[in-house]
Structure formats: C-alpha cells, structure tokens
Amino acid sequence: MNAIEVKNLKKYYSKGTVKAVDDISFEVPEGSRFGFLGPNGAGKTTTIRCLLGFLNPDAGDITILGERINPKKDVDIRNRIGYLPGELGIYKTITARKLIKYFAKLYDIEIDWDFIKDVSERLQIAMDRKMGVLSKGNKQKVGVLTALMGKFDVLIMDEPTSGLDPIMQTEFYRIVSERQKESNSTVFVSSHVLPEIEKFCDKVAIIKEGKIAEISNVQNLKAKSLKHIELEFESLTSKEQFLKFLTKDYPEAKVKYQFNTQLTFLLPPIQTREILHDLSEQKWAGEPIKDLLIQHSTLENIFMEYYEDKRANVKEGGVVA
C-alpha cells in the first residue's frame, strides 16, 4: 500500500497566472523514506500544505494511508501524521513541556511520554524554558519533538534540520530512523540539503517549477546518471589537448570544473568503459594523465542537471556548472 498518493495536484495563484504546483502526481510507498527535492519556490511547501489541508488545491486527489481524503475536512487522519513545518512558529510565552502537553490534548491517540523524555534528552531540549528565549536551533528541536510525539504512520517534514548544528542533524536522523523502524512509519522529507537526503532517503522526487521532473530510487537515479570523472594532467598543454579530444569524440560530455591541470567532467555511464580505454591508449596524443577518479554522480550533481539551464556554465577558475 502507498502511504501517500497524489494525483494530478494543481495549485495556482493570482487567477492561474502563478502555477505553484502544476499537475503533479507521485506515490510514497508505506514504510519508505521519500525525499522531495527542489530549490526555494519549486512547489515543495505548497504540495505539503495541500496534503495537510492548509491550502485548497485547484484540482487533484490526495490519498493518505489508503483513504482518499479531503485533507481539510477529514481531520481524523491527522492522528496518524506527524508534521514539522518549514518555518516553525511556536508560542513564545509557554515552555516546551507545556506545549507538548497542550498538543497531546489535541490528539485522539496515546502519547508516548517515555519517548518524548528520551528525545528531549538526546536533543538536549530545554523543556522548562519559555520558547521566546530559545535560539532558532533550540526552537527547531522542539518542533522536531512535536512531530515525533506520537507513533505516527506518516511523518511529513519540511526542511527538518534547518537551524540544527551538524551533531544534532545526525542525531535527528538517527532518532527518525529508530522511530521509523519501531513503528514502520513512512517519512516524507522535503529539503534542498541534498547530502542529507542522499544518506537518508531511499526514493526521491525532484520538483521543478511546480512539476515533477523525476521520481526514482536514489540508487537507480545515481546509476543512470552521468559519471563524474576527475582527471589531473602533467601540464596545462596536456589538459588542453585532452579537452579538444573530449569535445570532438565525446560530444555528450559536460565539463563541470577546470582549474590549472585539473579537469572534471560528466559522462553517460555507457561511455565510461570507452573513455577508460581511450585514456589507457592515450588517444588524445598528449602526456599520460597523472591521476584519475571516477565516481557516481552525487544527488547534488543529479539535482543540478535538472536545474542546469538556470545556472552559469563552466568558467575558468573553478565555478561549478
């Protein structure tokens, strides 16, 4: 069963001139960790707000945990959803402890107080200090706690680690992983911090200008994506000679970065063996290469491929495409 199913969701603003979400469809399998990627303004938060009933979609169907719902009216489903908003707003005059107790009264489910105690200790949350005096990171920790306070079947988190330091980010993902294993919940994370998503999620959707550009398993996406090849040459002349050869014989290659004698380019996986052969044969008639590194593209590189039309092309001196 899918934990979340979105079909042909549309949300337009300004009488249809601004298409925040434009006919998107995706499925999040139960028990999976689903990353929802896109830069600011791509439509991630709008999609989440439609899922939770904050926004009225202009069209589309939403199914959560097998039930086709009107998220605004069918509020009972929220007993099974933990949510962490992207921009967290918390009442300033009360403490985290009081906030959790208050929210507990709004759910119709049992609240796991032992778990709350454990998480508050692990994230070092000041439970008895008023929210108004807490830093952004500490407020975010309270937000995390509110999202995890029940054994929810679905966790929807919008930029969850925003404001958390690297140690707390690691701890956060550890806690979410433990929670997920414990209750077989589905985690839906929206983010533009790609290394995090790469490590944590098993499936991702890339949203671009309100449309889904790609949905895939992270490993498959990486496997079918361009290979990342880094070369170091003995001299600048040698590098220039190789660049000429590359442009002529491998027109699909995309130069990402070049600085002094270093060159980084992307190549379709199917051509990897061929270029290795050419490198060993020194087909470009230059000096032998000094060093070679071939990697799968990172999620970040893959993501950039979808957005590269908006980015500057390679520049001598080290600008990434």
Binding site: K72, Y83, G86, E87, G89, I90, K105, D108
Partner: protein, 286 residues
C-alpha cells in the same frame, strides 16, 4: 450499547478540543485581561465614590444647556443627579471607548498574527477542525469581555455601598445588572465584528477596518438625533443604535428593549458564523 456509549464518549471528548484551545488561550492572556479588568474596577470604584447628587444636579442643569450633539455623545438622557443616570453617562455610554477598543484591538489581531507568526501551522496540523480552532479563540475574547464586565460590575456595586452620596436602598439593582449584561452583549457584537475582519485580512488591515467600523457605528448610533428627522433611522445601521440602556436605566421605559437586545445577539451570531465560514474556506498561506 457499549459501542454507542464508547462513540458518545469519544464524541464528547472530541468536542472538548475546542475548550482545550479556549482554555489555553485564556491562560496565555489572563495576566493582560486581569490587569486591565483591575484598572477598570478601580476606575469604576473611584467614579462611584465621586457621586454626589447635589453636585451633579448643578452639572445636569449645565449640561442640559449644551447643544444636542454633546448631549447625544454622552447617551442623550442626562440625569446625573440620579445614580442610574450617572452610571449610564459616565460608565456605560463610554464603555465602547475603554473596553470596546481594547477588545477589538485584541480580537482583530488574533488570527492574522497566528498566520504571520506561523503558529497556526502547528495547530492546524493536529486533528482539530478549523471551526474548533476558530471558536476556541473566539471564546477567549468573549470570556475576556465577561471578566472585564464582571470587574466593572464589582466596582459599581462596591461603589454603591462605599459611596457616602448613594443610598443603597434606592438603587435599581435589576436594571443595573441588565444594563451591564447588555453592555457585555454589545462588547461581544464588537468582538464579533473585529474577529470577522481578522479571518481574512492582514493584522494592519484588520485593525484599521475594525476601528473604522467602530467609529462609524458610534457616529451613526450616537449622533443620529442631530440628523434631519427623516434620516434619523440611520442609527439602526449601527450597533450603538441597539444599545439604549438609558431607556430603562434612567426613564424606566422598556419598549423595544428585548428587540434591540435580540438584534445584538443575532448580529453577533450571524457575523461569527460568516467569519467561521470564511476562515474554513480560506487558504493558510506560507
């Protein structure tokens, strides 16, 4: 049978979410409300102890010579030498100013600030219906009005017994209590108006429009008497046109009292229901 009982217990529990929201809102605001109510209690007590029939008899004659517009501003009937007239003139007819503005300020800012501060996101992601959130907050303002009016009443009644110029045996307590209750109903109508604007406007727009409407209501309701006779009915476009406590406090005339009273209640209910529908339908923006 057991299932039915279980289901009704569950339903009753669900209903209490609205009261949970209300209670939390009241607890968050009790200091401000109590402080303001105490100030008004002391103000009323001070005013009551100032009452002196002989002193105010002279003032009554003086005010009677004032233009009609000035008399209308203080409620029309001026019977300052009579305790009910004194209370009406100095405490009740100006209540819109010192209680109404405070409550409208609070209620016009409530929902827009929740949206601006993003606190609404965490709230509405919980299994509560929008109307529960909406009414929970509305009851906070109504309860604030109730507490303030109770403190005003306490100041007035304590003043009746403490003021040397008042004979407690001659006071019409029933009329006074009804007058104060009517004041509460007027305040609820003002709250409903401001709360209505707060459901779809920004904090600044909501505040501006609420005050604009309040001033318009006051001008229409209080100065209609100085307009040409054929358009004097314009006062019934204002909430103040239905707040005629002087009729029964000063003149003991009870004509239309119930009708006016009901109009204020119906107005509050209708405006609040419309506001609830708007809030339920609107988008909660990022």
């Amino acid at each position: 049978m057991k299932n039915r009982l279980k289901s009704s217990i569950k339903k009753a529990y669900k209903r209490t979410k609205m009261f949970n929201i209300s209670w939390k809102e009241i607890l968050n605001n009790w200091k401000g409300t109590l402080f303001y109510a105490t100030l008004l209690f002391l103000f009323c007590l001070m005013m009551m102890t100032m009452f002196d029939p002989t002193l105010f008899e002279g003032m009554e004659e003086m005010l009677a010579a004032y233009p009609e517009a000035i008399q209308q501003m203080v409620g029309g009937q001026i019977a300052l030498s009579q305790i009910e007239g004194f209370i009406h003139t100095y405490l009740i007819s100006f209540s819109w100013l010192y209680i109404g503005i405070y409550l409208m300020l609070k209620s016009s800012q409530d929902i827009p600030k929740e949206i601006d501060n993003k606190t609404i996101d965490l709230m509405l992601s919980k299994p509560i219906k929008r109307w529960e959130f909406f009414t929970g907050k509305y009851f906070k303002h109504v309860s604030s009005a109730f507490i303030i009016v109770c403190f005003v009443a306490l100041g007035i009644f304590l003043g009746v017994f403490l003021s040397p110029g008042i004979n407690p045996a001659e006071v019409y307590y029933g009329e006074l209590i009804f007058g104060l209750f009517w004041l509460f109903v007027l305040l609820v109508a003002l709250i409903s108006t401001a709360y209505f604007f707060s459901t779809f406007l920004t904090p600044r727009m909501s505040l501006s429009l609420s005050f604009g409407v309040l001033i318009t209501f006051y001008i229409l309701g209080s100065f209609a008497g100085i307009f040409p006779e054929e358009i004097q009915g314009i006062k019934y476009f204002s909430l103040f046109g239905y707040f005629q406590t002087a009729d029964f406090l000063v003149d003991q005339v009870w004509d239309f009292v119930l009708l006016h009273f009901m109009v204020l209640i119906v107005y509050s209910v209708v405006v609040t229901v419309i506001a609830g529908i708007i809030f339920n339908k609107r988008d909660i923006p990022v």
